[in-house]
Structure formats: C-alpha cells, structure tokens
Symmetry: C2
Subunit: 492 residues, 2 copies
C-alpha cells in the first residue's frame, strides 16, 4: 500500500482527492476534466443504478435512449435553458480526420468535413427529447409519458473534481409529460421524494427536501425541487434535483395534445436527475481518516474474509471452513469475498479493505480453527469481536442492518447539530466561519439580497425546505420582513 | 393501428424499416444518423445487457467507465487503429457557445473557445483505455486485467439504418491485458464463445464462430474472432467480434509489466464487443409479415392478457381471475402484463401485441368465464388453443421453453439450408444470386482474390469457421490450391 492518507483535519480537500484515488474509486484521465471510474468505484455506481432503476420502474417509468448530440438549432429553442448551458458546451464541428500532410504519422481535422450545423454534446437532454416528444404526443391517450434515460452528459467545467464536478459525468435524467399542471407538479415532487428515500435508506445520507430560490433554479424550469445533504466539512451538497418545467419546453417545441373534451393544449413537463456526484456525497458523508466507509447496501462486497495462516495445511483447513461460510452467507444474500490472494500478506489485505471501506472483515487464523471462532472487525466504528462460527450468519445479518443504521444516525446527528438558526448578519457570518453547516435564516425573498450575501460570505440559499413553520421575522441582511426561514450554506 | 406492414417478399428492406418504427423499437432522430431507442426497444436491450453482464462477471470481468473523448494525440498513437477509424470520427473543436451578434436569440460557436487539442468522440476506446492501463499495470500481480465498459460510441457513417448502422450506438467493449500471448488468445476465444452462447441460447439466433480474413480484421488487431448470423433475406450479419490485439496497443502506449522472474515485457491484449446491432439481428432473424417475433428470453413481457367483455360486471369478473393468474405466473418468473386499457378495443390490442411480438397472448371472454377456460395464442406459429384455467401456469411454462426452442430450430434450419458448397466461380455467382446465404468455397488465401470477388459479386469472406475439415481444393476464383473452405456472403 502507498503512504498514509492525509487527515481530514489537515486538509479536507486533499483528503478527499487522495481517498478517491487510493480507494480505487476513480482517477483523472488524459482528457481535461474527465475521469476514469475504476472497477471498485463503478461497482458502487452499479448498485446505485440498480436500486434507483427499480424505484423508477416501480413508479411507472420506462427507460429509453436519446442521441448524444443536439443540433445547435434545437439546443437554442428553449432560450433560458440554452442560455444557462451555452457557456459549458462541447461542440462537434467536424466528422472526419485525415492524415496531416505536414506531419508524418499524425492526423488532423479534415477541413472538408465541416458539419453544416454544429452539434452540441448534450449537457442535458430536454431539447432533443422534447423535439422527439412532439412526434409521440397527440392525444390524452399518450399521456402521461414517463421516461427515464441513463446516459453520459458533458458540461465544460473550468475547475473539476473527481465525482463532484467533472466535464463528463454519468447520470439519469427523467423527462415526463402530463395533461395538467397539477399532475406535473405532483410528479416532480414524487421523484424528489424517490431521491430522498433512496439517498437516506440506501446511501445512509440524511437530506433536506426543499425548493430552490429563483436564481438557483434549473435553466428553463418554473420550480426546482432538490435534496440537500451536508458534508463533514460543513459544506452542503446538492444531491439531486427534480424540476417542474411548466409548459416552457412544450411551447419551445410545439408539443400539444388533444384532451378528452377535444381541446388542444400544450403539455406540462418535468425533468429530474441524479449523477455520479452522488459518489462524492457518499464518500464525504461517511469516510474517515483511514479511508472509505461504505454502508452495507452499497458495498460491492459487504463482507471480506481474510485467512491467516503459516502453513499450506492451515490454509486448506481454513478454506474448507470458509467455503461453508461463503455458501451460508450467500444463501441469505450477503455479498462476500474470500481474499485468498497469496501475493499479499494479511496486514496488507487488512489495510486495503479498510481503505476501501468493506463494512465487515472476518479473519480466521489457527487459534480460530482450534476454538471454532472467527474475528469480526467493523469498518464503521472499528470495533472487533470474536464469535463462535455457529453464530456467524445471524451475527452478520444483524450487523449489516446495524451498520447501515449507525451510519445514517451518525450522519443525521452531525447534520442536525449543524443546522443553526441565526438572527443577524453578524451571527450569520460568525457561525458560517466558525461552525459551518446550514444556517437557518430569514430572507427578504429578493435576488439582490441573495446575491449580496453570496458575494460577502460565499454562502448561497441551498433551499426553502418543504417542511417549515411560518414565522414572522426580518431578513438577516436587509432587515426587511420575512415569513419563513430558508437554509443557507457554502456548497459544493 | 397504422396501415399494414410491407411484406418481406415485397421489399425486405422496407419491411425492416417499417417494422422497427411500427413495433415501437426505435426511430430516426433530428440528428443525422442517430436513433432514438424507444421504451419497448430499450426494454429488449436491457434484457440483452443484463444477461451479457451476468456472463461477463461470471467469467471474471469487472465493469469500469472511461472518457467519451479521446485527445487526438492519443487517438493517433496506434497507427493502424487510427487509420481504420479516422474517416468516421466526430471531432469536438470548441467548448463554448455564445450569443450570435448577428442573429437575435441565436447561438454560435465562440471562436475564442477553441480547444488547443481536438477531442475525438470515441469510435472505440482502445486508445484512451490503454493510455490509462499504463498507470495500472506494473507487475504480473496486476494481471490479468479483465475490464468491460457499457458505453455509447460514435462512428460517422454515411448510410445509416436503425440498429444496423447508426452514427451513435450503444455497446459494451471488453479490454483485457495478459502476461502471455497464449492467455490473451484464450481470452479472445472465450469471449467469442460467450457471445455465441448468449446469441444462440438467449436470442435464439444460430451463429457460426470463425476468424476474419486479414482484410476484414479490426484495425489494430492480430486476429479477429467473430460470430456470424444469417438473416431471412440471405444476407449475413456480423453479430459480435473478439480481437486478439497482440502487443500492438501495449507498444503504442508503452505498457510493460515485470514478470515473476523480474523480466520486463509488453503485455498482451484483447478487446471484444457487441452492440445495439444485435437488435437488428434479433428483428431480422425471427420476425414475419405481421411484425416482430420475440423469443421469450428477451421479451419485455412474455405473456399479455387481454380481457374481452361487454359489461362492467364481466370486466370485474375477468379481473378477479386475471389477478390470480398474474400472481401464479409471476411466482414462476413469467413476466406478464394485463392489458386492461379501456381506451382500446380487443382487436386493436391483439394487433398491437402481434406487431410487438409478445410471445404468448391469453384472452379471456364471457364464454371462458362460463367454462373455466382461457384462449392461448402463440406469436411464433400463430396457433391457438383453448385450455382449462387450471392448466394455465404449467402450459405457459412449457410454452416459454417450446417457443424459445422452436424459434432457434427454425432459424437454424433456415441457416443450415443456406450454407451451400460451391466449387466454381459460376456456381458461386449463381447460388449467390438465386439463393443467397453462405457460400462455402475454397479460397487461395490472398487479399487480391478476396478483393476481386467482392468487386464482382459484393460478397465478402464472413469468416474462416473455427470448425472445418482440411480438404484439398482449388480457389473458386483463381484456381490456385487451397486447403480449406471459407464462408462468403453478402452482408449487412
């Protein structure tokens, strides 16, 4: 193993970057801002995908696939959306390379192969999808149209960080069409709720559901619902968004339907997405100075078994026992790996599995053979226990639930302790500086105030929580009246 | 439903294009050569993915994800590969759009945002992946490296057809690295065999395994293994390829490893892929003039139940029975849909499910209620039977296997009847013209002859089958001596 991880206290940002690479989750590639997702990281993403996909289908959605490219003329059709993404678009202008006549063995773009119309690499797919929906929707019988796409998208970011902000990322994007405004709003809320349920139950990350302020809204949306999480350094992370798009895209692409009553109207739309950014949230919520900590629901393998032996004979004995453990655990759907590599010593294996966040380690050595025991080591709280082999399956099943819950509870406690009500701008700045986290504050509802606060403190409105109490107060910045608190934070 | 499908006899190509669209599998998009895969088509692709993914993992492979873009300088590193794909590369040259100063509300490429180095949208990922492997492989302990990627790729084709040849398509690409030449060859053969097993057992499409002639080899490969299928119009379709890449990419990207003995050597490589093209093979192998025919293993739903009723009361009675059928069938893992839409009549539903190839239709009407029966209609051979409700689960289970086998047997019989041994060039041309299919012929092994035959007949060498008998003969074209027959055909 390579040298020790930088600690969070020392340099949180460095800790994160090192952890992602050392735990074999991802690395930077030769392409500016684009990452390689390594097998171990991708296995976690596959678990995220599988569960979300199940939840989407359970709520009536179907998957489809739309083109990677968006012709410029379609891209610009919904003006706000186009304006919001124009500055970060990768653009295909040519469709052929040729031998470079000036450089032996090199290629150059063939100047003859210029596209008549440039193609934007999708930063999001509303434009290409709504242009397609135009052909799919004629009558109320075609509605609701409930579609999801798993895809890669590209947003040319100047400052990138593995998983959190990359030029190319993987995501899913739902795009739905409805007869009525109310139905579309219900859908947008439903999917935000699906995200919240998934992120809390599966990723063990507590989130706050809310709506965005106007200036933080998705370009082209009438309302953006979101789930906001809090990282260990006190910064917030937007983990998912679900947009009520009104009739904006239907109007831009002329998508009308005939109602039961024979009336023509534009359809109502939503879109919603989560991305590989969730991997960043996962890492930053649970991990510690020893490396990654994974909730059992998302671990590529939940249990690793490491044999400790000196002789071939001991290894054989251990292997016999492990084979029976493997089949017992697998029969109750525990994913388990027997790390019987002969090229690494137990110490190196322990270090690697700790770094990679395997929830539970089982070690079996010569003493265990004598006593009919095994040693369990929990990754989350680093405790160890020796138990009878007979109790193993039950104990492991129980621990999977316990670890999952412990991680969530710990994260929720931290998060709850870091929501601070502040009632003056001085307090706002001080708490932000000293403690971080979410600041629950009155705000006068104007973009001007929001901008000023951002300019001065770098904190933004993360959301107007869906759950709140009406409360008369005055804006922390302007002193103007306000009827509710909103959540500010510095954010990823 | 829209008007009748063109028949295969009338215009095979038109039949295919219409079928893909009418059965709701895919359609052309606003982007030249790029398709939209519709939910029903995508659901079939998901079944293909799930089973292949399972088989890849069972053979020790892990998934990962590499960037969409390949910097031009990396792309050109392996010269043969670069030369092979240069003419069909979409190229990103800019990373920003801006408001067009000459056209209100329009965007244009920002001339200030030109990339220093152009980015090729991956037509295949050897270059970016081998550049990454350089950092992953140091010693024999890092080998074999067995990785697969599910991704979209872009090859700028001038003449495109839904699924068969599209500018963007979805695929998986395996990329492995090995210590020895023999191990890499074994891997390439193994994966070709995985493809053959999958395509035969799951897609019910018989294939011939073989190797490509030098001129049909993948650009950058030392050997290309392939599986070749035969469509109903007598044209062959390459359904998958698996390449032994020698040390070509290891040398181009300087990927060496230290062996157990401490020696340094370049690693040996394979790559292998199948794509959404398989959808085209599926459609063209089994479907008929009434529409799509799906093998039960790949059908989004294997059984559809259509209620036939006049009164609300009848529908309620039928629904009670259907609910119990649904739970019985699902308990034995049959996927089933109850088509209780009130917006369509039974006749329209029958037509739609026939067009969409649902393997088995169950109809329940008032008479069935009286008699305790249901009517089954098989999509593959269009036969019907009335059976007792009590026998339904057993019968459906049996039919799923029977239909799967029947489809495979039918396709294999057709394929076997269309492999013709030809012994002269006249016979070659006549059989190709009149009967089509594979021509098993002696060939002198030269590219010149291969080119000449292609020029004259449009037939190419599909493969040198792995299973063959040594046999002295003379080349059908040149009359020069030959030791074995190879398979020629016109191909997609």
């Amino acid at each position: 193993m390579s040298k020790k991880l930088t600690s969070r206290a020392e340099d949180y940002s460095k800790w994160y970057n090192e952890l992602v690479v050392k735990a074999d989750l991802a690395e930077n590639s030769a392409v500016r801002g684009c990452m390689v997702i390594k097998p171990y990281g991708y296995a976690i993403w596959e678990k995220i995908q599988a569960e979300l996909d199940r939840m989407f289908k359970e709520t009536g959605h179907q998957n489809a696939y739309f083109p990677l490219f968006v012709p410029k003329s379609l891209f610009e059709a919904e003006e706000k959306n186009a304006e919001g993404f124009a500055k970060e678009c990768a653009v295909v202008t040519h469709y052929r390379l040729q031998n470079d006549p000036n450089k032996e063995g090199k290629l150059r773009v063939d100047p003859e192969a210029k596209l008549e119309e440039e193609l934007v690499v999708r930063p999001t797919s509303e434009a290409i999808i709504w242009n397609t929906y135009k052909g799919w929707i004629q009558s109320y019988r075609d509605l609701p149209l409930l579609i999801n796409q798993w895809a890669n998208v590209v947003r040319w970011e100047m400052r990138t960080r593995l998983f959190l902000r990359t030029a190319e990322f993987l995501w899913q994007e739902g795009h739905t069409a409805h007869e009525t405004k109310q139905e579309a709003i219900t859908e947008a809320k439903l999917m935000n709720n699906v995200y919240a349920t998934f992120v809390e139950n599966f990723m063990a990350i507590p989130v706050i559901q809310g709506v965005k302020s106007e200036s933080e809204r998705f370009a082209g949306a009438d309302e953006t619902y979101c789930i906001e999480a809090l990282m260990q350094d006190g910064k917030a992370l937007q983990a998912g968004t679900s947009h009520f798009l009104g009739q904006n895209f239907a109007k831009a692409f002329d998508v009308k339907f005939t109602s039961k009553e024979g009336k023509q109207d534009y359809v109502w739309a939503t879109s919603w997405g989560v991305s590989t950014r969730l991997m960043g949230a996962l890492i930053m919520t649970h991990s510690d100075d020893k490396g990654l900590v994974l909730p059992p629901n998302l671990a590529p393998f939940q249990v690793v078994i490491v044999p400790i032996y000196k002789t071939e004979e001991q290894l054989n004995e251990i292997t016999t026992i492990v084979n029976s453990i493997l089949s017992d655990l697998r029969s109750v759907n525990i994913s388990v790996k027997f790390d019987n590599r002969t090229t690494y010593r137990p110490g190196a294996k322990f270090a690697q599995h700790e770094l990679q966040g395997v929830p539970l380690r089982v070690a079996i050595g010569p003493k265990d053979l004598e006593n009919g025991t095994v040693e369990l080591a929990r990754r989350d709280n680093l405790t160890k226990e020796v138990i009878s082999l007979n109790d193993l399956t039950n104990r492991v099943q129980g621990l999977m639930i316990e670890i999952q819950e412990t991680l969530f509870d710990k994260a929720r406690t931290y998060r709850d302790e870091h929501i601070t009500e502040v009632n003056s701008f001085d307090e706002f700045k001080r708490v932000l500086d000293v403690k971080g986290g979410f600041l629950s504050a009155h705000w006068d509802g104007t973009i001007e105030t929001e901008d000023k606060i951002k300019e001065i403190t770098k904190a933004t409105i993360r959301c107007l929580p869906l759950e709140y109490k009406e409360e008369s107060g005055v804006c922390v910045y302007s002193g103007k009246p306000s009827k509710r608190r909103v959540l500010f934070a510095k954010a990823y």
